[in-house]
């Protein structure tokens, strides 16, 4: 039987940056694989390096060392081409506040080389899917956080990317909106999209993830499916596993 090849591979990714004369090692030799049609969650406490890792995968920042490969080829050989396959939904929705929300989506599509008519059609579809049509002609600054986040997610999907990076997509959302988003994320996975989810919500990770990576101080502590992790730690929920891990870590420290 042929072994399944990863869509995206990270090998020994490290990231250090300077902050006020101090070098901070945000990531240390992180290696991971992402396969087609799966949801992978990155878990960790604040400062664990989750957002830095997401940003490196989105090519927002370069790693200090290490390699990021798509289909076995370094993405740094042709970054713009790789970016066509990536959709990033950042933690803080960074929509252009001077454009209407429809314009934000249409220009995003056009920036990803969609013809204007196609971008308009796609924007309509996504606004309908996320129940945003009534806000289409408003600017971003009048929206609540939840709606901004939905628009931000819709924008990340405009160009139909194969890898979607969701950095804390449900922070501050009402429970029912969060559940709606979960359903949408599952649909994306069922349609063959690969999703990297960064989250603080462990029940979210448990509900959505096919696999989980736990990051702590820039190092991957454990990796596995929610079921295997629960079995390995003899716990009933991912939350209990995570708390156990953190507790063990604090004891070691």
């Amino acid at each position: 039987m042929l072994e399944k090849k990863p869509l995206l591979s990270l090998r020994n990714i490290s990231k250090a940056y300077k902050a006020q004369h101090e070098t901070i090692q945000a990531l240390k030799n992180v290696s991971m694989d992402l396969y087609e049609g799966e949801i992978v969650s990155l878990l960790g406490i604040n400062g664990a390096g989750k957002s830095t890792l997401s940003a490196i995968i989105a090519t927002l920042y370069p790693p200090s060392t290490g390699e990021l490969c798509m289909d076995g080829v370094s993405v740094y050989k042709n970054v713009p081409n790789y970016r066509m396959h990536i959709g990033l939904c950042p933690q803080h929705p960074n929509l252009n506040a001077e454009l209407t929300l429809e314009q934000n989506l249409v220009f995003s599509g056009m920036a990803y080389r969609m013809p204007q008519a196609q971008a308009q059609q796609r924007a309509k579809e996504l606004m309908h899917a996320f129940e945003l049509t009534r806000y289409a002609q408003q600017t971003a600054n009048i929206l609540s956080g939840g709606f901004k986040q939905r628009f931000s997610l819709a924008r990340s999907l405009m160009h139909n990317p194969s890898i979607i990076i969701l950095d804390e997509p449900t922070v501050g959302l009402d429970p029912h909106v969060r559940h709606e988003l979960w359903e949408y994320v599952k649909k994306l996975r069922d349609n063959g999209k690969t999703i990297l989810l960064t989250t603080h919500y462990l029940e979210e990770a448990e509900e959505l993830s096919d696999r989980v990576y736990v990051l702590d101080k820039g190092i991957i502590k454990i990796e596995g499916t929610p079921e295997t992790l629960k079995a390995d730690f003899n716990k009933g929920s991912l939350q209990s596993v995570f708390l156990e891990l953190i507790k063990n870590n604090e004891e070691i420290v």
Binding site: Y17, A55, A58, T59, L60, Y61, P62, Y76, N78, V79, P80, N81, R83, M84, I86, L88, P90, H92, N94, L95, N96, A97, E98, L99, Q103, F107, M110, A111, Y112, R113
Partner: protein, 265 residues
């Protein structure tokens, strides 16, 4: 190696981003034209008529037209420094642009082009306004329109890149006023806004040589040479070369500094 296909793709993304900026500009253009018209008209009234009663040269209003074009470009570009520094410190919308399918450096270039294009559209109103205010003092047939077009385009792009350079120099919002007092204002005030290089050369030769280090002087001199004629100003083509030189220098410094600061790929 960059292929023709890649260049074509980058051009599509670049155009879409520029177009989005112009959509925003279109919403604000009338207000911007009115704001600028007030500055231009008042300047020309004071410099072209009132100060002549105090002994100022009779053609000083005409001299000021040459100063007002670069001044408009400078003061149109400068607010982008506020918004961009605020963005880098706050919502970081720039992060989104830095993940688009285009080399990240082209995002910076797009910003410079966007500022340049908007500034260029704004200065297109200055000659008609000047003609209205100055009347027969401004002879439209004496203007070298080709030179004026070249110099306006180059100056617009120069100030677009210059504003990015200022952004790259500012670490946070609290530095904005200091940068204005320490860099922008001296460059502007000593950049030939109110005098020609030759007039200063005849009066204070030592200062005129220092002024040659100021990139603003080439924009004011080049514009004046286009509007009034070559005789009393620095050679037009020397100004063109100098502006290109300074634009390239500022671009290289800006790219290096912003790459380090934003840490983009």
């Amino acid at each position: 190696m960059i292929t023709m296909n890649a260049i074509k793709n980058y051009a599509i993304t670049f155009k879409a981003l520029l177009y989005a900026d112009l959509i925003v500009f279109k919403k604000e253009i009338l207000n911007k034209i009115i704001d600028n018209a007030i500055v231009v008209v008042i300047n020309l009234l004071v410099m072209g008529f009132i100060l002549q009663r105090f002994g100022l040269q009779s053609n000083f209003g005409l001299m000021m037209v040459g100063g007002l074009i670069p001044m408009t470009l400078l003061f149109y570009a400068y607010p982008f420094v506020f918004t961009t520094v605020g963005d880098i410190e706050g919502p970081r919308t720039i992060s989104y642009y830095l993940t688009l399918p285009i080399p990240s450096g082209l995002i910076l270039l797009k910003n410079a082009c966007s500022i340049a294009l908007q500034g260029f559209m704004l200065i297109a109103t200055i000659i008609p306004l000047a003609k209205l205010v100055l009347g027969s003092q401004l002879d439209l047939t004496a203007i070298s329109w080709g030179w004026l077009l070249i110099m306006s385009a180059l100056s617009s792009f120069f100030f677009g890149v210059f504003s990015l350079w200022v952004i790259s120099m500012i670490k946070n919002m609290s530095m904005l006023s200091s940068v204005f007092s320490r860099f922008i204002f001296p460059l502007w005030m000593l950049g030939g806004f109110q005098f020609s290089w030759q007039s200063i050369h005849l009066t204070y030769p030592w200062f005129s040589y220092i002024a040659l280090l100021n990139p603003f002087i080439y924009t004011t001199e080049g514009i004046r040479a286009s509007i009034i004629g070559q005789e009393e100003f620095l050679p037009f083509w020397s100004c063109v070369v100098a502006i290109i030189f300074f634009t390239v220098c500022f671009w290289c410094i800006t790219y290096k500094r912003l790459k380090k600061r934003l840490d983009f790929v």
